[in-house]
Symmetry: C2
Subunit: 133 residues, 2 copies
DNA sequence: CTGTATCCGGGAAGATACTG
DNA sequence: CAGTATCTTCCCGGATACAG
């Protein structure tokens, strides 16, 4: 989960797992600045602090949703960002995806049991946020 | 607190408060992507999710500290990052700074009452983090 | 010792076009 | 519809030198 691999295209010099390469192709690399995964607090922050993650999770805590519906609720977010953050949250086990094999494509995102346990975290975050200014 | 101003040097084209300029000098600018400050959850996340903030706050929840001591506890963080994150947390009212006017300089950072209320947030974050893998 | 000035690299996320 | 490919912009935080 930490040092999460992402795919990226670099046209010039880039790095693979810490080593540099100049090949122009999609590669997997580890995050440059490793997270302090020995701290439970930072672990949680890392899985929920994507730009749209709290918003998505709040929605999914209420009901299952298709990508289209998530977009409708977050019109400012690009589709790319949303699918990326959804993918990360699937990797982290917070949510699940179900594919209905049909055309046009249909998928549905839902919260996992682990994900539901975030609600007490959100409750505290919200309580504190109300005290700010 | 949101749309916090930062100073930055751009050698080419950059923007001031949303408008673009090509002057090469230090300017103040607002964040390009405004935060959704209507959500209490995101408010909290925004004030605690700097790279070293949770670590600093955890320390200050125990005792007052000088910059030197914070650095000792976080040898991987640069001085610049630490002072910057400390400054932001002062702006957000989480911590306070006391200057002893002497030479060599001496200052001391301490948690505010608002800051102490973060402990229940951290508790939940920590509890959830233990459930991750 | 505390803090700022300056420069820079890299990862996150936006825009847009395309695929199945 | 759902998702990826590609390029671009932005901004956080590291390194280093300097100032009071």
């Amino acid at each position: 989960m930490f040092n999460r691999k992402s795919s990226v295209l670099k046209s010039a010099t880039t790095h693979i797992l810490g080593y540099y390469t100049t090949f122009k192709k999609y590669i997997l690399y580890k995050r440059k600045t490793p997270l302090k995964n020995d701290c439970a607090i930072e672990k949680t922050l890392n899985v929920i602090s994507g730009k749209w993650k709290p918003a998505i999770l709040s929605q999914l805590l209420k009901t299952n949703l298709r990508l289209r519906d998530i977009q409708k609720g977050l019109p400012e977010a690009s589709k790319r960002s949303l699918t990326q953050q959804l993918r990360e949250m699937i990797e982290d086990g917070l949510i699940e995806k179900k594919d209905f094999h049909q055309f046009p494509k249909k998928t549905e995102y839902s919260i996992t049991y682990l994900g539901t346990q975030l609600s007490s975290v959100f409750q505290e975050l919200s309580k504190f946020g109300d005290k700010l200014e």
